[in-house]
């Protein structure tokens, strides 16, 4: 197994290098004038010329790439055109808010999506299956950003029971001191006993959380269902039943354990979708995360920021998939 993990890590490195190469091509090679992109659409010719030298665009390609790589490794993703700060810093500030959303959606995907898929498979073609399948297929057909807007319209504008956006109410932000331990408001307020802040934050989390969680829940439910259908058709399930094992054990232990491989792949995929969903919905809710950061960057043609978020997300995703693959390797069959 160690050998497998090492091999997988090695492969991961190669993939990471490939990702860096692709992003390099995107930023330096493909655009007609990379320097102009770097300094933005409102730059003056002198600024562009200066940037050209800074980026080393006059030097041969491999020198450029090397500089790009070393910058990356040092955490230098460049400076945002809009905030004029190092992108890395911007990212660090915006990350916790996004992580909150991604975390919620992943938890929902696992604890709602998987059981939904399992029950759906067990009661195939009965009414429960049909409802669950309709729900899943419906939910993955919805554009996330539209769901967010409609929710805002209905629950804020029409019904007035949920806030329009932001992580906390303005009132609280202005009058109370917000604990800053981990950067996660929900967590910090909970452990410092600040329940008013905690519930306010929770209340603000509802709409963004639901909009982002829907697609992953549907995705996980669908894939779990088909994985489980395949598993349940196997002989060892019939055998287990013939020994008189309770159906509950057969389903949730014997069958489910065989799906660990597919499940971890699907969960990794749903985290990816959740992350991308944040790009689409955060700005709608004025949620101070990476999503609104990149959405603003895209509109303002803040190329360094766009690339910064892309590289960061890609690397995070590669690492995530690496973990998923290692989990799959825990399947005893893969050991041989």
């Amino acid at each position: 197994m160690k050998k497998f993990i090492l091999r997988r890590l090695f492969l991961g490195m190669i993939v990471l290098l490939g990702v860096v190469i692709i992003t390099f091509f995107l930023t330096r090679v493909i655009p007609s004038d990379p320097a102009a992109k770097w300094v933005g659409p409102r730059a003056k010719p002198e600024q562009i010329a200066k940037a050209r030298i800074e980026l080393g665009l006059d030097k041969p390609l491999y020198v450029q790439f090397f500089k790009y790589l070393t910058d990356l490794v040092q955490g230098d993703l460049g400076h945002s055109l809009r905030t004029r700060r190092p992108i890395m810093l911007d990212l660090k500030e915006n990350l916790p808010a996004t992580i909150e959303l991604v975390l919620i959606s992943t938890i929902a995907a696992v604890f709602i999506g998987i059981p939904l898929g399992v029950i759906s498979a067990k009661r195939k073609d009965q009414w429960l299956d049909h409802i669950s399948r309709l729900f899943s297929v419906g939910v993955v057909s919805l554009p996330t950003f539209w769901v967010a807007l409609i929710m805002q319209l209905v629950f804020f504008r029409i019904l007035g029971i949920l806030p329009m956006g932001g992580q906390l109410s303005t009132e609280i932000k202005l009058t109370m001191e917000i604990p800053k331990i981990t950067g996660f408001i929900i967590f910090d307020s909970l452990i410092t006993g600040n329940f008013r802040i905690f519930f306010d934050a929770l209340w603000h989390l509802i709409m963004p959380g639901i909009s982002i969680a829907l697609y992953p829940i549907g995705l996980v439910a669908r894939m779990t269902r088909s994985a489980l259908l395949e598993i349940l058709s196997n002989d060892y399930i019939t055998a287990a039943r013939s020994y008189g094992l309770k159906e509950r054990t057969v389903l949730w232990s014997y069958a489910l354990k065989n799906s660990v491989g597919t499940t971890s792949t699907v969960v990794a995929l749903s985290i990816g979708y959740a992350l991308v969903n944040t790009f689409l919905t955060e700005s709608i809710f004025s949620w101070p995360g990476i999503g609104s950061y990149i959405a603003t960057a895209v509109i303002g043609l803040d190329y360094p920021a766009i690339m910064g978020v892309t590289i960061f997300s890609a690397i995070a995703y590669v690492i995530l998939n690496l973990i998923a693959d290692i989990v799959i390797a825990l399947d005893p069959r893969v050991r041989t």
């Binding site: 492969l11 992350l275 959405a295």
Partner: protein, 297 residues
Amino acid sequence: MKWFSEFIKTLQPRIREIRMSFYLLNRNRLQRVSLVIICILVLIAIFAPLISPFPSHAISATNPGDKLLPPSSKYIFGTDELGRDMFSRVIFGTRISLVTAIIAVGLALLIGVPLGAIAGGVGGVVDEIIMRITDVFLSFPPLLLAIAIAAFLGPNLENAILAIIVSWWPWYTRIIRGQAVSIRERQFVRAARAIGTPMPRIIFGHILPNTLAPVIVQASMDFGSVILTIAALSFLGIGAQPPTPEWGLLISTSRTYFMNAWWYSTFPGIAIFITVLVFNLIGDGIREVLDPRTRKF
């Protein structure tokens, strides 16, 4: 090119199978309805200028006198901030969504499938190289690569389609390659090699036809996903540009107004939902038909 005609020849006996598959597909009521709706959508797309009450509104005309009117008998879906009829715009949006989906999925297939067949059929170093490249592309979260490419190539619809094609083809390569590898080891392929059949003919005449089933399922599902992606890219601003009546762009523009003009966001969104839904349902149906394990009997 000879290999291509070989491939087409292998399709002849499968016509009967394809017809039986259609029959099976139609047995489920939900699938029948979806198929009908897809046909309706195609018709809407084709006859858009004839169906829309105000076809010019969909393109460039403006009508400032009727700004932001709620739905009425004249303007079925209401009007936007430039007084344009939302109903006509949404109808024309069908064209854009369907055409981009066909182009994107089609070209991605055209690139991804042969690459996968070659990788799986030939094996060895070629396989390794192709798969590593595929892995790199697949290691980006879905949509992210499309966003990056579209942003850098310049924000317009064509570049968005290109971005989608570039981020989508690896999925097909991976599926085909996996299938090809297992088929490569089967008896009939070994027999063909043993009698000296040239490699390209083996790949395109023997291996490829047997690998298509999962990819067909995937591609039919992907129609829906691509439509969602185009909408998302346009929503972010790096896809279709105004005044193109692309659904995602319509929703994006609606943000400024929708609190007081609910119809602006609602109808384009419903259009996206229904279109993607029926493609997903058909994709499900195709999968049930092609995958013997999930069949009822």
